[in-house]
Subunit: 391 residues, 2 copies
Amino acid sequence: MSDNPTLLDIDPSKLTIVRAEPHVLKTIPPPETWVFGQSGSTDHMLIIEHDPEMGWSAPVIKPYSPLTLDPASSVFHYATAVFEGMKAFRGPDDKPTLFRPEMNMDRFAMSAERIALPPFNKDALLALIKQLVLVDERWIPSRTGYSMYVRPVYIGTRPTVGVQASTHGMIFVIMSPTGPYFPTGFKPISLMARHDFVRAWPGGTGEYKLALNYAPTFKPQQEAASQGYQQILWLLGDERRVTEVGQMNFFVVLKRSDGEIDLITPALDGTILPGVTRDCILSLAGTHVPDASSPSSLSTSTRPIPRLHPQERQFTISDIVSWLEQGVLLEAFGTGTASIICPVSKIGWEGKDLILPEYEEGVGPVSKALWERIVEIQEGRRESEWSVKCE
Amino acid sequence: MSDNPTLLDIDPSKLTIVRAEPHVLKTIPPPETWVFGQSGSTDHMLIIEHDPEMGWSAPVIKPYSPLTLDPASSVFHYATAVFEGMKAFRGPDDKPTLFRPEMNMDRFAMSAERIALPPFNKDALLALIKQLVLVDERWIPSRTGYSMYVRPVYIGTRPTVGVQASTHGMIFVIMSPTGPYFPTGFKPISLMARHDFVRAWPGGTGEYKLALNYAPTFKPQQEAASQGYQQILWLLGDERRVTEVGQMNFFVVLKRSDGEIDLITPALDGTILPGVTRDCILSLAGTHVPDASSPSSLSTSTRPIPRLHPQERQFTISDIVSWLEQGVLLEAFGTGTASIICPVSKIGWEGKDLILPEYEEGVGPVSKALWERIVEIQEGRRESEWSVKCE
């Protein structure tokens, strides 16, 4: 994968596993206390380092421990950092699985290339991540809604402050236990639409999973919270195009005059992250047939789902206003690895709240049916090539 | 400076200095080998850490050494990182000085606030940086064009991967020897104008010195280099506004019909870094009187400088094309801490090269006069409140 054939690529056959001594293994906290990203780390981590002379080092899985880095390392000065987020589940055969991990690996490599980090072999990295999952598989509960979150990170470690691409790099993978985003049932979230803070821009980096897309969102997020909104609906340009919500892709569910349903999400125009869950939603919606006897039919216990017409195209906050006035906007939701689907209750815009339809369960039937199907596949209760065994 | 009065702020009176043992002090490389950002570090560094429970720790100056950080630290995942760049010189009285350091401290604090890092006391930090410069003052040569580059960095160290502001932080300051940007006389650089890659945009972070503004520039910079251009001229929007050049602010020098000179740089509209050198240029140009007997008169050995009219306003690449056609564009240059002034020879745009006037010395008279005045002040050969003693 390297441009220079004399450099070593990542080689899983050279993996060394240094297991934590049994007496220092952590006590797994009770799953009901797990909060996404806040429940500490598992016992082990994976590290692979790149040097411009040698290429990629022999991979090491070792006890979770601090990183030791030169203060001049590129990542501290120029934000050469890429990450991914994926989840490991326990299948019905008790074996650990990952959900569509090759999509994460593709995006990880594309993101690294965008900030000129040295290239790496995606298949080799995935093979190593599977090994890491197996080493810490005791952390994956067989309990619906619970999983082990896997966080690959790639940082630039060139140890000089000259402003240029990092010829040195380090990939590390850490993991943490994670529970359901909505432990006590769906709770739709409130959004504050903002056009003055802009998440991503044509010619920028919105379509890559770069660390640098996140730091600028914290301040507007804090401002939204101080005004009682939970996330930001990011608008772009004079036309106030809708792009993403918080750190999620965004979908709207519209009733058509023929009784069928349009499921619309912003097109991948360079400002939108190509989310794995986003892709799942589009794919499941496209193959859904409104006939409960079909294996690809989506449904909820309460009502059948009409035919869905998934569309990737631009729309604006004015479109949302107009759809609400016409009474055709049935549901809106964010999608991401943490929540899968996160329903929206209202959108603050120009000093008013746009109120979305309310549902008894906190989630509309289309959102719910899509959510259920993805969870079934993730947890191995439905066969799918999206679920990949770690072995 | 903290929002929470119970938290400790940075306190220079608590500074501990742990000096490197004499036998491990580095040998200072010969100044003629010094390359900006590539000549290693001095002997010591400053570290101060912030914890949401306690506030800022007692500051420590200690031998330059690696940082030890939790792999879940915010900076690796969400690019919570700010930096500054400033230079220490040796004055005629042999005492170390810093050049307009309060401007760097103001920007450092504003940048930190933009990405929701905990606040800090700017005066206290500057007092500590002065102490660090004094500890390593043997690295500052008394040789024109040479200095010690000072790099303050502020990173988020919150050790959990939940996507939110970093409540934990670390400020560290490292230093490195640096020589003249043009060791053998001015060499004007070639630019490639790009509008497809965008450095900064309205509602983004271009006006802050954030690590995250830099990583996205490496790939387009490599592409420009592969086509024979040294830096990128960053354009913005459908109108192709000129914003910055490489990592520098950008100026054009225009001949007016009355024989005087317009000195134009893009206005600080949110997409432009408020550079210290940029500010110096505007200030020196504004006070220049074309009378060699005035103390604020700028001049070169070869010719007098007409009256200068500094202007901060938007202009486009089409304006540059038109100014060249009219024969009024005399000089163009970038400004920054590394080069001070970096003259431009040509700009690649739409498959053609826009050729700027050539000068025997590699630099035009206005650029040269401004450069000379700044260097005189930096090196203490001319009295100015811009030069601040470390004591």
